[in-house]
């Protein structure tokens, strides 16, 4: 069945330009299309008309690379739960629907063009400590360190984060707490992550604030929109680690003669 869909899309030439919503009408949208394929069709049409096609980020179109994401009627990735926008299909919409598409909005996510934003702030949070410092070649045998299956499974749950930024876009404070907590939890739940656990919590949280993300006030919007089901208890774990580290880690530094 084919539908008529009206799109209002945020168009903005570059980071500093003034943006605005522009209305487009698609008279013949197949229910089997993905949302991004509908935008492909629109872009082909715009190109033929000599207009500038709509810029949006995408790559794998399988819901795993984390490239895609924008707001559909105020919701990151649109209405279907646990689904990135590349996996959202038009059969979930109705003939005549009117949709407003906007980029993820946050001070730490400047708009690059149209629906595309710069999320390199998330990379810098990882660079501040989202790893185990182990050089290539210095590992012991993989089975030398038994890991409780439940811990490993919970670490995997947290590690499933795709870094799309939907959590930030949905948060009234534009906080990156769910993203940061997912990485802190992933490594805190594993024995490999213990040596740097305090340092990691301190540095990653500090970097999050440095980038201009807000504080978490437990609104819970992030969990509701996360396409990978990352849960709020990760934030609780991050806060616990941060608090503990804020006391013990600084004391250690002081004992060693101060920073």
């Amino acid at each position: 069945m084919n539908m008529r869909i009206v799109l209002h899309i945020w168009r903005q030439r570059n980071r500093t330009a003034q943006g605005q919503m522009v209305r487009y009408e698609l008279p013949n949208v197949s229910e089997h299309m993905s949302f991004l394929e509908m935008l492909d069709v629109l872009n082909e049409e715009l190109t033929r008309k000599g207009e500038d096609p709509v810029t949006f980020e995408h790559d794998c179109r399988e819901g795993i690379c984390g490239c895609c994401g924008f707001m559909i009627n105020g919701v990151p990735h649109g209405p279907q739960r646990l689904t990135t926008v590349c996996q959202l299909h038009m059969r979930h919409f109705r003939d005549g629907d009117e949709l407003w598409l906007e980029p993820f909005r946050a001070a730490a996510f400047p708009v690059v063009k149209d629906l595309m934003v710069d999320r390199s702030s998330l990379d810098r949070i990882i660079a501040a400590g989202g790893y185990v410092s182990v050089n290539t070649g210095s590992a012991v045998d993989g089975n030398a360190l038994p890991i409780i299956k439940q811990c490993s499974d919970m670490a995997m749950d947290a590690a499933s984060c795709i870094g799309c930024g939907a959590c930030v876009a949905s948060c009234p404070n534009a906080s990156a707490s769910l993203f940061t907590a997912a990485k802190i939890s992933h490594l805190a739940l594993l024995p490999q992550g213990q040596a740097e656990r305090d340092r990691r919590a301190i540095r990653m949280v500090a970097q999050m604030l440095e980038e201009g993300f807000g504080y978490c006030t437990n609104a819970g919007e992030c969990e509701a929109v996360c396409p990978k089901g990352i849960t709020l208890d990760n934030i609780a774990r991050m806060n616990r680690d941060f608090l503990k580290a804020a006391i013990t880690y600084l004391e250690e530094t002081a004992a060693a003669g101060g920073a």
Binding site: M33, D59, C65, A127, V132, G142, P146, A155
Partner: protein
């Protein structure tokens, strides 16, 4: 100019070659490492692991990716797992067995010494990834879990749910971010490589385009490492990410790097079929589904009844019929070709008749719905999301799709291309997989190359050259930059009537029809006539809107398509000359009486390496002979 195809295979018995090579390699002393700069292009498993490891060693690394973050590389989409010869299951695995399986699975078209080394370092990869905190699946006792995969007779595959590629890539990405933090690696994201700079016969840098500002720049280094992935998108529709492209390796080819076995393509049998003209990519459904699903089509041509209305007696379970021993579990290339055959006979199902059923009714009846949901729940969900159909009620529809390329830039044992100082890793090189890659081996190769091979072989190269000596004003740099700028201007000035995708789809149709699952001389010759026409049309009639001084996704795609339009022709040329069937390359003229691939070891037991001879001349074909001393040549059989 003839290519130097000395594979530099080290001396000694196969199990000692890598040790011998490492001992003979020259070293760069720790204090001198920071004097050397290295460019790494691509941040997937191969490039990401390489950039991180080289940074750890103390080299000054510049890493580049076209995505908005190094974590997005397409390695992330790999589902199944990674092989390693750990023998944790006590089931008879060994380095030699993994080596043997890989050589045989590749239909005897890979270099033995490389494959053996791959099997050797596979065990180190698992240790390294565990140490990084990769959450591999575990047993209740806390040890690592394994499964068998891709028809292997041992359980050697390590996995992290259906997201193994994601977790391994995040491990490499985090190691890379750590080096960025300490300043050994400078990261350039949203940068696309447009050319390699060769000075006095050595790779000395690259030309890039900043995809946000459009600025075209030169970056200089003492060596260049490409980990830029495969070129499956030459077919337009594939399981690759939309951005996956051949530009880096193709431009290197045009600067003198030999291209190995371009025609070797892997077509995966279990993907979700095309649903319409707007289709932008194809989605893989893990081949583990074939463990419990039965594949069939109606016996009658053009049967339009619903699957449930077709009685048992009127169904053709063709894999079970044709391959009674392996049945639905026969290898990827065999299953793919059989699906194409029944669809070509007019017995395909679904829109356009391009699909076959993968039916779980019998398994659900035998094991119960819950058991099936436990095994494949996430895959069933994904299928339902994309198609809007419930695979618990109605059989899935599947069709083969392009998934991986075994071809790529030719490299010697040290992963160095025919251009000194240009190293190629992962899917971008012509690989250790011969003519067919086994499941769960792509991740293994990418990480082996990046973590455990390039840190040694690159050091050996750098120890023999002086750092520096070239800057951005060198005439080769200026020429390469000017050429790249000129191409952008040309693409923007055509202002024709067709979009980039219009033309890419035309190329894809030709490639799929004539250089896909089944190939023959007549079809390949036809394609060799059609592709230059499409290419001409592109350069006359493409419409790239916008300008070059801004973010312009149409311009990015146009540049990539320009290269696919040349690469596609080389693939057909290679497929035409290779008058045999091997692995993923099936020449219809060369099959056994039962319709299986028939190799010609007399004439084709070699890697074909193509050398660019200029835009107006045909490329030259050279060969690297392959010797099989440890795994003896034999015909594969799955009856």
């Amino acid at each position: 100019m003839a290519l130097n195809l000395d594979a530099k295979i080290p001396s000694g018995p196969i199990e000692q070659k890598w040790d011998n090579a490492r001992f003979e390699m020259k070293l760069v002393n720790p204090a001198n490492k920071r004097k050397y700069s290295v460019i790494v292009v691509g941040t997937g498993l191969a490039g990401g692991a390489a950039a991180a490891s080289l940074g750890e060693l103390g080299y000054r690394v510049k890493a580049f990716c076209f995505q908005d973050s190094p974590r997005r590389a397409h390695s992330i989409a790999a589902q199944g797992g990674i092989n390693a010869a750990k023998n944790y299951q006590n089931d008879g695995d060994s380095v030699f067995r993994l080596f043997y399986d890989t050589v045989k699975g590749g239909d005897f078209r890979a270099r033995e010494a490389n494959v053996y080394r791959l099997a050797q370092v596979s065990v180190d990869i698992i240790d390294q990834c565990v140490a990084q905190g990769v959450p591999f699946a575990r047993e209740y006792g806390g040890v690592l879990a394994n499964r068998s995969f891709g028809g292997a007779q041992v359980s050697r595959t390590f996995y992290a749910r259906g997201q193994t590629g994601q977790q391994l890539l995040l491990g490499a990405y985090q190691a890379l971010e750590r080096q960025i933090d300490v300043g050994t690696v400078e990261m350039f994201y949203r940068h696309e490589m447009l050319d390699v700079i060769v000075v006095d016969g050595r790779a000395r840098g690259i030309v890039t385009r900043d995809m946000v500002t459009g600025a075209i720049d030169v970056h200089i280094a003492d060596a260049v490492v490409l980990g830029t992935g495969g070129y499956g998108n030459v077919f337009y529709l594939s399981t690759n990410a939309k951005g996956s492209n051949a530009t880096a390796i193709w431009r290197a080819y045009k600067k003198g790097a030999g291209f190995g076995n371009p025609c070797y393509t892997q077509i995966h049998p279990t993907c979700i079929p095309v649903s319409g003209d707007y289709q932008s990519k194809l989605t893989l459904m893990s081949e583990s589904l074939r463990n419990d699903g039965r594949i069939w089509v109606p016996k009658k041509e053009g049967d339009t009844r619903k699957a449930g209305d077709i009685p048992e007696a009127e169904r053709d379970y063709y894999l079970e019929r044709m391959y009674p021993a392996f049945g639905n579990l026969c290898p990827r290339d065999i299953a793919s070709r059989a699906a194409k055959r029944v669809c070509d006979e007019g017995r395909g199902v679904g829109p356009g008749g391009k699909g076959v059923y993968l039916d779980f009714a019998e398994s659900i009846g035998r094991l119960g719905r819950d058991k099936i949901a436990e095994r494949y729940g996430n895959l069933f969900e994904m299928y339902a999301k994309i198609t809007g159909e419930d695979p618990y009620q109605d059989p899935m529809r599947i069709y083969p799709a392009v998934h991986y390329v075994m071809g790529g830039l030719w490299v010697d044992y040290n992963l160095q291309s025919t251009i000194p100082g240009l190293f190629v890793l992962g899917e971008a090189n012509f690989s250790d997989h011969g003519a067919n890659r086994l499941g769960a081996s792509a991740l293994m190769q990418g990480l082996a190359d990046g973590y455990f091979i390039i840190p040694y072989t690159l050091g050996n190269y750098l120890a023999q050259v002086k750092p520096g000596g070239v800057d951005e004003t060198h005439q080769e740099c200026v020429a390469a930059k000017t050429e790249a700028e000129q191409q952008m201007k040309t693409l923007l000035s055509i202002k024709g009537k067709k979009t980039v995708d219009d033309i890419h789809k035309e190329l894809g149709k030709v490639m799929w029809e004539y250089c896909g699952m089944g190939r023959n001389a007549q079809g390949l010759e036809k394609a060799l006539g059609l592709i230059p026409q499409i290419r001409e049309e592109f350069w006359k009639n493409v419409n790239v809107p916008g300008s070059g001084e801004e973010l312009n996704q149409s311009l990015e795609r146009a540049g990539r398509l320009a290269d696919f339009l040349e690469l596609g022709e080389l693939m057909c040329r290679d497929a035409l000359v290779r008058e045999e069937s091997c692995g993923g390359h099936f020449r219809e003229e060369h099959q056994t009486e039962e319709g299986e691939a028939k190799r010609d070891d007399e004439k084709f037991c070699h890697a074909a390496v193509w050398e660019y001879q200029g835009a107006d001349s045909a490329p030259a074909r050279h060969v690297e002979p392959l010797n099989f001393e440890y795994v003896h040549l034999a015909q594969r059989s799955y009856k």
